[in-house]
Amino acid sequence: MNYPDIVKIIETKEENKSTKTIKFEHKEKIAPGQFYMIWVPGVDEIPMSVSYINKKTKAITFRKIGEATNKLFKLEKNDKIGIRGPYGNGFKIKGKNILFVGGGTGIATLATVIEHATKQKILATAVLGYKTKDEIFFEKRIKKTGAQVYVTTDDGTQGYKGFATEKAEELIGKNKYDLILTCGPEKMMKKLLEISSKTPLQASLERYMKCGFGICGQCCIGEGLRVCHEGPVFDKKILKKIQDFGIYKKDASGKKIPI
């Protein structure tokens, strides 16, 4: 039922000064790329992808950017939050050689997907894009999966200097991938769609959400595609049809604002 379960936080970890992981007790199954509605009582409820999947515990990893994430950032072990879900479709892992392209907190979503794929003996290459060195997180975790990892920073403080899409374009030119999976800023994903040529691609989108179970219409894109329900992961064929992709999103009032 679409009602929040109140769960106890069992561990928290600061991945860097603005990014934190919160692990909580939760037995319900969830697939990589699916998300929860996280309720911070008295503050807000926001969508967040799962970042660790264990049998009895799950986790979320986020950056403090708004009121709810700032409050979440302050929570410690034994504090409680509400979670609803899992919601959405998740990534469909196919093929033998996959290119993963993550940007910012989108990397938190991709980490579980990469772990899942490498366990199935899939050859994984990951481009992890950050603004700067201080914002890097999950690099070691993803390297541990055996994936070939390329770190990019916009300012060149670590790894390749430039955007993740530039590194990805170079890799796509040199190698043949069966699939590209991406999560991050929408402009990055839109660019990736353009440079992916004939390689199949799936991108995980983010929209302001309210109900989370497909009725309120807040997160709809294109022809009534509910990011919370038919998404958040869409494949190339659909992305190409969605006129809003990479162009605009809706704010809380439903007004279209440029991305």
């Binding site: 039922m1 679409n2 009602y3 929040p4 109140i6 509605m37 309720w39 009582p41 008295g42 503050v43 807000d44 409820e45 926001i46 409680k80 509400g82 609803r84 959400m209 309210k210 109900c211 989370g212 179970f213 497909g214 009725i215 309120c216 219409g217 807040q218 709809c220 894109i221 294109g222 022809e223 009534g224 595609l225 509910r226 809706k250 704010d251 809380a252 009032s253 439903g254 007004k255 279209k256």
Partner: protein, 285 residues
């Protein structure tokens, strides 16, 4: 038709609902200015229904012109739902909806959880009459008045709408409700109080439609908890001339519209009815 508040914030969504079998779509309630609505949680599911307090979020009438125009290019019948805090605002909104191309107007006089709007206006028969009558004078397209079940004088309100020459009365909006979470000891909705919809409210809607249509000649549009063809037929028997569907989109998917229409047809065939009008109000004895 699709009821107001469900997948109707943009033309794309309403187009999808129309393609899924709705005869017409009612837009989210639109006001003068953009309004963000309440913080989440704004909607949650309970055992027998859905409780919400969205807080009338909408992009404002000026930002909504493209949505209506797109729907009209696609030849989709669209009812523009509007909310205002006074007669002047309602008139202004109705005129704009008509100008954009809406086929009818629905006056939201029944939202149970927004201060200064909705039910706070719709519980006063004088205001209902004044606003409806002023809107009727300023537009040519049909005007529906959507009224609340959270009233002891529901018939009086419906009569006020009729006396102002409303073209239809829509009943019901959500039922004022609350859910308190035991673990956190707080109301779950950020607005604390919300409106209940879905299966649980169908008997309340049927009763309201029955009482209203017994007392007025104006057509009544039934809404509240319809998820099957038989639910719709119950509303028709109570006196509704048409029905709106909302929460069923969650319970049975967006193609609920097609499913429900097919079930109505099947029921009619089985019971030897050829015309839906034969069923309207038959339970009124």
């Amino acid at each position: 038709m699709l009821s107001s508040g469900i997948m109707d914030e943009d033309a794309g969504s309403m187009n999808r609902v129309f393609k899924s079998g709705a005869g017409a779509v009612v837009t989210k309630s639109i006001g003068i200015k953009p309004r963000e609505g309440y913080l989440n949680p704004t909607a949650i599911e309970l055992e027998h229904g859905i409780i919400n307090a969205m807080g009338l979020p909408n992009p404002g009438i000026n930002n909504f012109s493209d949505e209506i125009k797109t729907l009209k290019t696609l030849k989709i019948p669209v009812v523009g739902s509007i909310f205002g805090s006074n007669s002047r605002e309602f008139v202004q909104l109705a005129e704009k909806m008509q100008e954009y191309g809406a086929d009818a107007i629905e006056l939201n006089m029944s939202c149970p959880h927004a201060k200064g709007y909705g039910l706070e206006i719709g519980s006063d028969p004088k205001l209902v009459k004044e606003i409806t009558s002023n809107v009727k004078k300023s537009v040519k397209i049909p005007v529906f008045v959507k009224i609340s079940p959270n009233l002891t004088n529901i018939v009086e309100i419906a009569k006020a709408a009729e006396s102002a020459k409303a073209d239809a009365v829509v009943a019901i909006n959500t039922v004022k409700a609350m859910k308190i979470d035991l673990e956190t000891k707080t109301p779950v909705l950020s607005n604390k109080i919300g409106g209940y919809s879905g299966k649980a409210i169908k008997p309340i809607g049927v009763r309201c439609v029955y009482e209203i249509s017994k007392n007025i000649k104006t057509p009544v549009i039934g809404v509240g908890g319809i998820t099957t063809g038989e639910d719709a037929i119950e509303y028709f028997m109570a006196g509704a001339s048409a029905v709106q569907i909302g929460s069923a989109v969650y319970y049975r998917g967006i193609d609920s519209f097609k499913k429900i229409c097919r079930e109505i047809e099947k029921w009619m065939q089985k019971h030897n009815y050829k015309d839906l009008s034969e069923l309207i109000g038959v339970a009124q004895i």
